[in-house]
């Protein structure tokens, strides 16, 4: 531990410490968790020359205010929105130097849901089962950040940032989720085609556990109607269809097992998109490859 830290002035709606999670414990009921948009956390970490898995802050919809205790270097990635160092506007995906006492402030995000703040040296809270991540389903890890928290910053890595800026394309207006068939696709009538044809909207009861969608109800085949599924292992991106026929797409804090059929699975390269959809957004499913 060092004498550098981030002092939390306002946490915004929800700010969590996240790294790349705690794989390897699913058999005892502990899920992977970690940054919902792992690609964004990794990018922010690379910008400050951290190990990609260093712990940073995951900020829901902006609103975070932190003050540097000692000189710290940070970078923002993920959901876009205005940001300031004291009163000076600053950009995302850029290396930002904060002198001791400088305040970093995130405005309301304008696209996406979760912004990541990486800090050179990483947020150095104690690990739980090998990770600093907060798992909201299992209630493991440090829990939501609160005003007044002083988050210790770890020792700086040996390397120095090699670029000042990483250009990232603006996110598309409509989110495409590429999927492959899941283990129980055949329980439903023509389910991949119906997922592709349907208009799906993200409901407000969406969180790190799952993105819940509403649209045309998916119907089982006559053979599979009323069939029970013993619980089985789940993965990030699994598209599960409960009895109401409305798909649930599991996120990083998903339960380790589930008892409803999984009809499709979101491709790995689109997991970050899944973390950035907002309630009210329209999403579409694409079978196989979609634009990257």
């Amino acid at each position: 531990m060092t004498d550098r830290a981030l002092e939390v002035l306002e946490p915004g709606l929800l700010t969590l410490v996240e790294d790349l999670g705690r794989p390897g414990w699913a058999h005892i009921g502990v899920g992977r968790s970690g940054a919902a948009d792992a690609g964004a956390l990794r990018l922010a970490n690379r910008l400050v020359a951290n190990d990609e898995g260093a712990a940073g802050l995951e900020v829901l919809l902006g609103g975070l205010r932190v003050r540097a205790v000692g000189d710290v270097t940070v970078a923002l990635a993920g959901a876009r929105g205005p940001a300031w160092l004291d009163d000076r506007p600053v950009g995302h995906e850029a290396v930002l130097e904060l002198r001791s006492g400088t305040e970093l402030r995130l405005g309301t995000v304008t696209s996406g849901l979760r912004t990541y703040v990486a800090v050179r040296g990483g947020i150095d809270v104690p690990t739980v089962l090998g990770s600093r991540s907060t798992d909201q389903l299992a209630a493991l890890g440090p829990g939501p950040v609160r005003a007044g928290d002083v988050l210790p910053v770890g020792a700086a890595p040996v390397g120095w940032p090699v670029v000042d800026l990483a250009p990232v394309a603006a996110p598309p207006d409509r989110v495409e989720l590429p999927v492959v068939p899941g283990p129980h696709a055949d329980w439903f009538e023509d389910v991949l085609a119906r997922l592709q044809a349907g208009e799906w909207h993200v409901t407000p009861s969406t969180n790190r556990v799952a993105v819940r969608l509403t649209g045309p109800a998916l119907a089982r085949t006559p053979d599979a109607t009323g069939r029970e599924l013993p619980s089985e292992g789940l993965v990030l991106g699994a598209v599960q269809v409960p009895p109401d026929g409305q798909p649930v797409v599991f996120g990083v804090d998903h339960p380790v097992t589930g008892g409803y059929p999984v009809v499709a699975v979101v491709r790995r390269y689109a997991h970050g998109r899944l973390a950035q959809v907002r309630p009210g957004d329209r999403v579409s499913f694409v079978h196989g490859l979609a634009s990257v």
Partner: protein, 213 residues
Amino acid sequence: MTDARAPRVVPYGDDAVLVELPGLAEVRALDDAVRAARTTDPDAAGIVDQVPAARTLLLRVREDADPGALPVERWWAARSDRTAEAEAREVVLAVDYDGPDLADVSRLTGLTVDEVVARHTGARYTVAFGGFMAGFAYLVGLDPVLRVPRLDSPRERVPAGSVAIADEFSAVYPAATPGGWRLLGRCERTLFDVHRDPPALLQPGTHVRFTAS
């Protein structure tokens, strides 16, 4: 000759396969075989999580590994139906049999309360799989006479340490949670502790006995 118990490997996204098996005994055998392979077999090096359940074993791999390349059939062929490591580990849990559902279980089974306790302590259980919550273990081996359905409507709060039964399973709740199983008693042991190695007292394959305290 085909093996009627042979696993069926189903693709499950870019990072995993779901291995479907006829039942719990086969899941236990393959789960143990894969766990053993992970210490010795380079082909298992990409596995980061394995999740046994009632009729399936989920194998999830690292991002740079191909789940379709896992030699599941080879591990199945190398399995043992009785593994030495699992045989060795038995946990004995002392239980205060004063649960709020004892009278209902007695009525549903036609046994006296003492007989319910005798049947519950008389069996040797095995952890079939986890899930539901951290440290929760589905125990099989319950006396079939004690098979009772879940509550019609779940309790909003089941206290930590509650010893419960439902259908073919018994379990101990590691922490307070809503739950619909029938509560027979209480156990003082800590089932899950992140500062302990291993954190879960009961892991897939562990044997369990209950004693009345």
